[in-house]
């Protein structure tokens, strides 16, 4: 039963048409597609709208469509031609939707508007039945209603507490192809196929193997002393940049005192108490990561004031290998928002940085990458 039908039965009233004032709001485009990417709860926010928009951009260009993003100021940007996040009130937003050519969005108020104005639209649903929440007005033939994948008869969670979010089971290429049906079905053949997206794929991070004193400016740099221990280069890097460090063994106090280290991930079977105390004295945030299961409880008591995380490298590799088909991986392209600097070059993963020789490198990094192939032209 749709929400409005429940409201009708509850009140004994008949369903007519909804109403809203939609006062003029200037949009500098004649023909445009509206993206609305966030709902009131993060749960319904899809993490890969940027990828959807990137995949569809050639289609938009072909049809002369500008892109417009509406929503709240805090919503992540997807780099549309016109950014109206946080700039319209509810009623002005209604005007923008009323005058658009196409609408793409999540299960939220603007989708109801798009339906009401009978726009060609696509909306995605995850934590409830779409039949209960989809646009109630408008021609269903103009509406692409996409429900997330639920294998083995799984039902919607009806929860605001999904982790991971089921909406992210939809791959960006699937959404893009469905949208092609509304505007240009033949364009589907040009859509790349996404085979895997890791849970941390969206996080932007720089990882430096300190084989050189790289001079890189970024908010989120990790120096991987655990992979290549070089105090000299670390010292030179922190002399210029604020970084986080992952290390298996202590390094000299002068580096700790530089004031340029914001976080240390200290990975070890058993932690050096002097090093931990020195890190604490400098007020540097620290994660203790225990690699030996048998030591975990003992280390948690020794270092009670810190959270001691467990880590098992082989278990992680095994888990990754059970997630994807290894043979497929070798032929796929890798995209990642984590960039690895090694041998004075930038790579999309440690796997690439190590010459694509050891698949275990990719398995350890799997949650950071998107794997895809591009159709032949």
């Amino acid at each position: 039963m749709h929400l409005i039908e429940r409201y009708s039965l509850s009140t004994g009233l008949k369903i007519d048409n909804p109403q809203i004032n939609a006062p003029f709001y200037p949009v500098a485009a004649d023909t445009y597609v509206v993206f609305h990417t966030s709902a009131k709860d993060n749960l319904r926010d899809y993490d890969y709208w940027h990828e959807v928009k990137t995949i569809l951009q050639p289609l938009f260009d072909k049809h002369g469509l500008k892109t417009v993003q509406i929503g709240l100021e805090k919503d992540p940007t997807i780099n549309c031609d016109i950014d109206l996040r946080g700039k319209t009130n509810i009623n002005q937003m209604a005007y923008v939707v009323k005058n658009c050519d196409y609408f793409i969005g999540v299960d939220s108020f603007p989708s109801h508007l798009a339906g009401h104005y009978d726009k060609k639209m696509l909306a995605i649903y995850a934590n409830t039945h779409p039949e209960c929440a989809r646009p109630y007005w408008g021609n269903p033939e103009n509406q692409k209603i996409i429900e997330t994948h639920r294998p083995d008869g799984e039902k919607p969670s009806f929860s605001f507490n999904e982790n991971p979010k089921t909406i992210n089971r939809l791959k960006p290429d699937e959404i893009a192809k469905e949208f092609c049906d509304l505007i240009d079905p033949e364009f589907k053949s040009q859509i790349p196929e996404v085979l895997y997206i890791g849970g941390k794929y969206k996080i932007q991070q720089i990882e430096i193997i300190p084989d050189h004193a790289y001079g890189i400016n970024h908010d989120n740099i990790f120096v991987r002393m655990d992979l290549f221990y070089n105090e000299e280069n670390l010292e030179r890097i922190v002399s210029k940049h604020t970084v986080s460090v992952i290390t298996k063994k202590p390094f000299k106090e002068s580096i700790l005192k530089s004031g340029k280290i914001k976080l240390i991930n200290y990975v070890s079977d058993e932690f050096d108490i002097d090093f931990v105390n020195k890190i604490r004295e400098q007020g540097i945030d620290m994660h203790l990561i225990c690699t030996k299961k048998d030591n975990l409880k003992k280390e948690r008591i020794r270092f009670f004031d810190y959270k001691v995380f467990p880590f098992d490298e082989q278990a992680k590799i095994k888990k990754s290998k059970s997630t994807i088909n290894i043979e497929d991986v070798k032929n796929l392209k890798i995209a990642s928002n984590k960039k690895v600097f090694k041998n004075k070059s930038m790579h999309n993963s440690h796997y690439e940085a190590n010459g694509c020789k050891n698949i275990d490198d990719l398995m350890l990094d799997l949650e950071w990458v998107m794997l895809y192939n591009v159709p032949e032209k």
Binding site: M1, H2, L3, I4, E5, R6, Y7, S8, L9, S10, T11, G12, L13, K14, I15, D16, N17, P18, Q19, I20, N21, K40, L43, N89, I90, N91, S108, F109, H112, L113, H116, D118, T128, H129, P130, E131, C132, A133, Y136, W137, G138, N139, P140, F158, S159, F160, N161, K257, G259, R280, E281, Q282, G283, K297, R300, I301, F304, D305, K307, V308
Partner: protein, 578 residues
């Protein structure tokens, strides 16, 4: 081997650096591998389902987002949520403890006696009661729990005075082992480094909040200086000087009392290199002379203060410790100062009564009574003359008398505040409660919800009004407007009021069917309150709550579209194209 007694300990998360948090940490560290007890942590301030990474089994008690969504905007419910009200039932059901031990302010346990497990589980409340008259809630919960523990003897006496026996004082289990007197040479070096070698240093370590009597101390210090112009005295206020929103504007008071600003010292800490120094206050975000960092030097704050070793050094640079306050639960710095080898001057009220007597290594500060606005609690305003007199007394105190006091202070700490003493007392309480039959609950309090005053917003008579409630969200408010033509048709003579949260009011702007849009209030979900019951006439002739079946309970899902509606619910104008 007999079965261990399982104790669910419910308080602040054991990694929180609060009095309750430190207490939680220390009792769990002491008991987690005990032969007699099995402990489980229920941690306020951490979300349910999180991994707390403790060496013992643990749960967060803060609600999951779906519950938070439901209680959003209701301050009382949000407060109850922060005390674990919504998740503790699930944790008790999962763990089935022999004993529930709740450690918090007494109001944190409001309505706990109504919980289904309360009647079947042994319950101990270990609470702080810092002012007279003792809250009625404490008497009520005393009747409804198996054992009540308090953090200060003041509270125990207050309850016994009114006939509530069986209350026992156990101070919070705080670890004072980082605090000790430093060798004289080291102490002198420190004083020299901070340029206070020749000064009589009076110290106060505190969180800058209004219950710490800073103006009284400044006034007492001023009198002391006036009476003893030959003494070079400094007042060291180890606190967050920048905290002016909920604390004292200390520079303003120094100015107002015409105290030489260079006589009042602050502790500055570099957040980059961790070095600290003492200096008259000169603003925040200063450059560090030690590591060269810019704007990294601030006065102590609760987020990132000096470490315990440094704090011990700071105590050791003092000559006397003075702690005037209006009331308090335990006031940890008093014990820290005693452990660091200082004579302590403490207001003789509330938990100060456990620290201010000569037999406890302290000297009492006299105070006058005032009543706290709104609560009418008795609070202490410490007499500045008493502060000045005692400062002078300690300055002139013969060495033997001082040593005697320090000895008494150490004895007091060892016998009353040491962790092992506290743990032994707790164990005895656990055994006693476990062996005693469960106490019967005397009575239950009910939730009440007061109605908003709607009368000024309503027109005409009750019979003329209909209320349609849809608290949120934008989509629901928008689609609900489709019912309004039918409502007007059904009730042509009534004024339609639409209640929703203010952020959705504009969706209804200019809607011809609505007489008035009202701000949603939770009491509007009480149909009897809106439509009337018994002598209460209500506010509306009809009140519709269609959201109850969608936002409060899920009474519409039915596999999406498997249900059937066997009659027409659409108006003639409904323009669906399907």
């Amino acid at each position: 081997m007999s079965k261990k007694i399982k104790i669910l300990v419910h308080s602040n998360y054991s990694r929180l650096v609060t009095g309750f948090g430190k207490n939680m940490k220390n009792i769990l560290l002491a008991l987690h591998d005990s032969e007699d007890f099995e402990v489980v942590e229920a941690a306020n301030g951490v979300q349910f389902g999180s991994d707390l990474m403790t060496p013992w089994k643990s749960y967060g008690t803060y609600p999951t987002p779906d519950i938070l969504q439901k209680i959003k905007g209701d301050a009382a419910k949000e407060r109850a949520a922060s005390y674990g009200h919504y998740m503790i039932d699930k944790i008790v059901e999962e763990e089935k403890p022999d004993i529930y031990l709740g450690i918090e302010d007494i109001w944190a346990f409001s309505q706990f006696e109504n919980k289904s497990w309360w009647a079947d589980t042994k319950t101990i409340l270990w609470t702080t009661l810092d002012s007279e008259p003792i809250l009625d809630q404490a008497f009520y919960m005393h009747k409804n729990c198996d054992k009540m523990l308090v953090w200060a003897t003041f509270a125990e006496k207050g309850m016994k005075k009114l006939g509530y026996d069986g209350v026992e004082t156990i101070h919070g289990a705080i670890d004072y082992t980082d605090f000790h007197p430093l060798p004289k040479r080291e102490r002198n070096t420190l004083r020299e480094k901070h340029d206070i070698s020749d000064d009589y240093v009076i110290g106060f370590v505190f969180k800058n909040q209004l219950r710490k009597s800073v103006p009284n101390l400044l006034e007492g210090f001023k009198i002391f200086k006036q009476n003893n112009p030959h003494i070079s005295a400094k007042l060291l206020l180890h606190t967050d000087w920048a905290e002016k929103s909920v604390g004292w504007d200390i520079p303003q008071y120094i100015k107002e009392k015409e105290i030489n600003p260079s006589d009042v010292l602050a502790t500055y800490l570099c957040t980059k290199c961790g070095q600290y120094f003492l200096s008259p206050y000169d603003g925040e975000d200063k450059n560090c002379g030690c590591c060269g960092s810019e704007k990294s030097v601030k006065t102590k704050n609760s987020g990132k203060g000096v470490n315990e070793t440094q704090l011990n050094q700071i105590y050791n640079m003092m000559d006397v410790y003075c702690h005037p306050f209006t009331s308090g639960g335990q006031e940890l710095p008093i014990q820290e100062a005693k452990a660091a080898g200082l004579v302590t001057l403490v207001t003789s009220y509330s938990c100060g009564l456990d620290s201010c007597e000569v037999s406890q290594g302290g000297l009492p500060l006299n105070w006058n009574e005032y009543r706290e606005p709104h609560t009418s609690f008795i609070k202490a305003t410490t007499c500045p003359n008493s502060i000045a007199t005692n400062l002078e007394y300690v300055f002139n105190m013969p060495e033997e008398e001082k040593n005697f006091l320090l000895e008494k202070g150490k004895e007091c700490l060892d016998q009353e505040f040491a962790i092992d003493v506290i743990i032994e007392k707790l164990k005895a309480v656990f055994h006693s409660v476990h062996e005693t039959p469960k106490k019967e609950i005397e009575n239950k309090q009910k939730d009440t919800l007061s109605a908003p005053d709607l009368s000024e917003m309503l027109d005409g008579e009750i019979e003329d009004r209909i209320l349609l409630v849809m608290p949120e969200s934008a989509g629901d408010v928008f689609i609900t407007t489709s019912l309004l033509p039918s409502m007007k048709e059904a009730y042509p003579d009534k004024d339609i009021y639409f209640a929703t949260k203010s952020q959705f009011h504009s969706i209804l702007d200019g809607n011809p069917y609505i007489h008035k849009v009202l701000e949603f209030h939770p009491a509007m979900e009480n149909l009897l309150m809106m439509e009337g019951a018994s002598q209460h006439k209500g506010y509306f002739h009809l009140c519709f709550l269609p959201h109850i079946g969608t936002q409060r309970m899920l009474d519409y899902l039915h596999q999406g579209d498997a249900d059937k509606i066997m009659f027409n619910i659409h108006s003639d104008k409904y323009n669906a194209l399907n």
